[in-house]
């Protein structure tokens, strides 16, 4: 792992923002941080970027065989959650200023800025004051400033927020391009479809704790519910009979003829296929895997229940 986080904790006043969190990020991957508002994503990002320090635990970043307690500024491209540039200055001046601060010489910065602005359909606004751009376009300019110096690590805190679907798709391509260039990208986002498409691995946080961590496949393995089986019968189903036959499974009666069963990894489909005909004549059977959005909702709900049980 290029970045290893071991048992870190962070508390703000009475709030435990991060609680004994451990995970790792591999070089060149897109790593997604997921979680509801207040889950601790931004606190974690601030620690990874070195703006704040963990109260306990350890962060270790390896760059060219040297170890750092956070991602050092010379290797970091950063899009913060609280973002903003200089609204009175032009688009180009904003980009070039940040590029120069990160070591890009002016001529190269202008060339790179033009390249990325063209990619984001903003080249014609290059000399416009930043404040004259729409919120989404300002967001794109900010993304460019975060990566124009080609850092080896990029942290993007909610890069899709404020963007329409077309521009969200452009950002997906943009991130894929960063990955192709060998950059390691850590992003936090609420747009599950985008994350599912992009992320190699992910970490779901809730109340500062890890809910699940790994690839989407691994997460499905970890999840209590990984899919749904919908069975339709030709006649009314007897609910008492369902309870007795499916005692170990969570299910939902959609209507008098339709039954939906949550599939866990422990379920063996063959067993279910033997049980279901005993409830009545099957008309149709449909099985689907949960997508990330559904996994996320289910995991957060389960985590909330588990915490309240404690």
């Amino acid at each position: 792992m290029e970045l290893e986080v071991q048992q870190i904790c962070k508390q703000y006043a009475q709030v435990q923002a991060i609680n004994r969190l451990s995970f790792g990020v591999k070089k060149g991957e897109i790593f997604a941080l997921l979680g509801p508002n207040g889950a601790g994503k931004s606190s974690l990002i601030r620690m990874l970027s070195g703006f704040t320090q963990a109260d306990s635990g350890q962060i270790k970043v390896s760059i060219n065989n040297r170890y750092y307690p956070f991602i050092p500024s010379h290797a970091l491209g950063y899009l913060p959650e609280d973002r903003g540039l200089y609204p009175e200055k032009s688009v180009l001046k904003n980009i070039v200023y940040f590029a120069q601060l990160n070591g890009v010489d002016k001529t190269a910065a202008i060339k790179e800025a033009k390249y990325w602005l063209e990619r984001f359909d903003l080249l014609d606004r290059i000399d416009a004051q930043l404040k004259s751009l729409s919120k989404g376009n300002q967001q794109k300019v900010q993304l460019i400033t975060a990566v124009i110096h080609q850092p080896s690590w990029v942290i993007l805190d909610e890069p899709f927020s404020g963007l329409d679907p077309i521009n969200q798709e452009k950002v997906v391509q943009f991130l894929a391009e960063l990955k192709a260039k060998g950059m390691t990208v850590i992003l936090s986002a609420h747009q599950m479809a985008m994350v599912e498409k992009l992320a190699d691995r992910m970490l779901l946080l809730n109340k500062g704790q890890c809910v699940f961590y790994g690839t989407l496949h691994a997460i499905r393995q970890q999840a209590k519910v990984s899919g749904v089986l919908t069975a339709k019968f030709s006649e009314n189903i007897d609910e008492k009979r369902i309870t007795s036959l499916l005692k170990d499974s969570a299910y939902q009666l959609i209507d008098s003829h339709t039954l939906r069963i949550n599939l866990s990894n422990q379920h063996v489909l063959n067993d279910l296929l033997l049980i279901l005909p005993r409830l009545g004549e099957l008309v149709s059977l449909h099985s689907e895997k949960l997508d990330l959005h559904q996994l996320y909702l289910s995991a957060i709900a389960n985590h909330g229940e588990a915490n309240s049980d404690k």
């Binding site: 703006f51 320090q53 500024s73 913060p80 973002r83 540039l85 200023y97 940040f98 900010q142």
Partner: protein, 405 residues
């Protein structure tokens, strides 16, 4: 991966960004042209409206002792009665004024002056008549013109001080000292206004974390301080030049005098420049640190704290008339006030070289400490949104070795 620029390079980038953020050539040029235009307008207006350069005919009753004619006033005896003279003045414009005189019981005169309307030259006429009547009265008393002059200025005053350090009147450059204090005020107000706008603006624009990702808070504040120092120097230079040009304009062009540059103590200027630079650095660093702690510029009590750097200048103003007194001596060594007090003391007092050197050394040490303290305050302050740090927190950050996040 691109190599990160050095801290110096980053500081310079921030400095030039900060300076150009507020400095616009076009606006500067336009404002100077407007000032020049106003000056020219005043000059032209004065030339057009100047009625004191014309020749005025004054009708004087025959029994009045005729005042001496001047370049502007011609006094002419007439036997006509007042009514006829008034008609000649208002309808025929034969006269510009009529002078009537009556003896009063105490031996003085009641002089009545009639004119068509109120004019500026009437004031000039009155002055000339006062001289005329004073001389007449003195003659009646049997006084010569020289005796009258002595009566008007019976003594000349010359101050000699046993404290030999006090510079003689010819050498006194208190005008330079006052000028320096005024220029420092101009610099401080410029720094105050712009730092307030710049720091609170950047905080509200949420640019903090983006910049923290590129450089350390210390580098950022160093750049900002230097940028604002350049602005303060620009404001002081601009104010000095404007003052000199204004002086030249009114003294030479309007007043017809030559420029007297003896009011400036040139030998002291390098010292003044050194202390001014150190003082501006100290105050700018302080103001930047306080501004970083302000969350809402409209409702923060900390805005008034930013004005604290004006106190040394005001204190110096209050004691500058007693150059060898303990107060100015104390202020000239105390590092928080020496930037204003020592130049003033040096301008009116001969001081041995070690005194400004010691004062300057202490000021530089304070600046060094202030740089670090301001950096720590700035780092924490810029990260706080929606809530301002308490004074207790700010003091603890200032004196701590390192700030925690």
């Amino acid at each position: 991966m691109i190599n990160k620029p050095s801290k110096w390079a980053q500081t310079w980038l921030v400095t030039s960004w900060e300076f150009t953020h507020f400095f616009k050539w076009k606006q500067e040029l336009v404002s100077k042209l407007i000032m020049l235009g106003i000056g020219l307008l005043v000059f032209v207006w004065q030339q057009v409206k100047d009625d004191t350069q014309d020749m005025y005919r004054i009708a004087v009753s025959e029994h009045i002792n005729l005042p001496q004619n001047t370049d502007n006033f011609q006094f002419i005896h007439t036997s006509l009665d007042l009514q006829t003279l008034k008609i000649e003045l208002s309808e025929q414009q034969k006269w510009d004024a009529i002078l009537i005189e009556q003896d009063l019981a105490d031996g003085s005169k009641q002089v009545s002056i009639y004119s068509q309307d109120k004019q500026a030259w009437l004031e000039q006429l009155q002055q000339q008549l006062i001289q005329h009547y004073t001389l007449n009265f003195a003659t009646r008393l049997g006084l010569q013109e020289k005796q009258l002059a002595v009566l008007n200025a019976p003594a000349r005053f010359d101050f000699s001080y046993l404290d030999e350090r006090i510079k003689s009147d010819e050498k006194t450059s208190s005008s330079t000292a006052v000028g320096i204090l005024v220029l420092l005020l101009a610099g401080m107000f410029t720094s105050f206004g712009q730092l307030f706008a710049s720091v609170t603006g950047e905080k509200q624009q949420r640019v903090t974390e983006q910049l923290y990702a590129c450089m350390s808070p210390q580098t950022w504040i160093d750049g900002k301080i230097l940028g604002q120092m350049l602005h303060a120097i620009k404001a002081m230079t601009s104010a000095a030049l404007t003052g000199l040009l204004g002086y030249a304009f009114f003294s030479v062009i309007i007043g017809g005098n030559s420029i007297d540059m003896r009011v400036i103590d040139w030998a002291m200027l390098p010292w003044f420049a050194l202390f001014s630079l150190c003082g501006i650095y100290l105050c700018t660093a302080f103001m930047a640190a306080i501004a970083a702690a302000i969350d809402d510029p409209n409702h923060s009590a900390k805005t008034s704290i930013m004005l604290l750097p004006l106190v040394p200048i005001i204190l110096t103003f209050l004691v500058m008339d007693s150059p060898s007194g303990w107060a100015l001596q104390f202020l000239s060594y105390f590092p928080l006030t020496s930037f204003a007090a020592m130049p003033v003391r040096m301008s009116v007092l001969e001081v041995p070289l070690w005194q400004p050197l010691l004062s300057c050394a202490m000021l530089l040490m304070l600046n060094l400490w202030m740089r670090g303290a301001a950096g720590r305050l700035f780092k924490m302050g810029m990260n706080m949104y929606g809530k301002e740090p308490s004074m207790k927190q700010m003091i603890s950050w200032t004196i701590s070795d390192r700030s925690t996040g």
